[in-house]
Symmetry: C2
Subunit: 154 residues, 2 copies
């Protein structure tokens, strides 16, 4: 398992990719975001998105899927997988995700510090992002995670 001391500021992990199809966009929307531009191609074309568009929560949930599967493949890099995450900040969907788009997800270490309240742990701050097949940013949000220190302070 990766320890706090091993985590390098600026390190960026490519978690994986997810392709948004008309089918999975509509299936998510039916259950969790039943707005017309997420459910129907024609309504999407007439909307400000210009095409069938994925729910922002679908885009975010697909980030979680790639993060969890990445952590399961590579147990040493579990810092992004917030099993019991307290939450996230600054969730942004700067561009729509449309049917046919493939989004590649990343996590990047922004900063870290020792925990004041839990001396055996450090706190790591990450920027989580998704880029579409044209390299355009479609998702970003800030996360943080507790990571165990190699040695407790004296």
């Amino acid at each position: 398992m990766q320890r706090f001391e091993d985590i390098v500021i600026g390190a960026r992990q490519q978690l994986g990719a997810y392709t948004f199809t008309a089918d999975n966009i509509k299936a998510f929307a039916r259950k969790y975001d039943p707005q017309a531009f997420h459910l129907d191609e024609e309504a999407g074309r007439r909307s400000l998105f210009g095409a069938l568009a994925a729910s922002g929560w679908h885009t975010t949930s697909a980030w979680m899927k790639t993060a969890v599967e990445y952590g399961q493949r590579d147990a040493g890099s579990a810092i992004t997988v917030g099993g019991a995450s307290p939450g996230f900040k600054n969730l942004k969907w700067p561009k729509p995700v449309l049917a046919g788009d493939t989004v590649t997800y990343f996590t990047e270490v922004v900063s870290k510090r020792e925990s004041v309240t839990r001396p055996a742990w450090g706190l790591v701050f990450v920027l989580n992002t998704g880029l579409n097949q044209r390299g355009e940013l479609v998702l970003s949000f800030d996360g943080s995670a507790f990571v165990p220190r190699r040695r407790a302070p004296r």
Copy 2:
């Protein structure tokens, strides 16, 4: 449609409720958050949650579902339904949501101001929350939305 001038600071809308079952918790997790404590009762019992627990993204997506359906029932109150939301801030899951829990979702107007860049619009800031059947906070996040003004400034 509700206009900027009509929006009252402190107004709180009850959007609706969503019951988390073992089946819908596992169905969400299989697609978007395949961690053992979201997929299997026994793994949930052995986890820090103590029981089969919903993904935080499932808790959030169910907020969206109730918000959209509320907006569809009551077109005058569509301010919370971020059809093209730019994003959210300070997403928190302060307590786990377990199989059998029913979460009631709310949105509350925190503040509002006229838009500087878009004079025909105002900006409304809301606090979105979810409370379980014991009244415990399980979800909170901050949102904002553009709302048309009744009359453009002279």
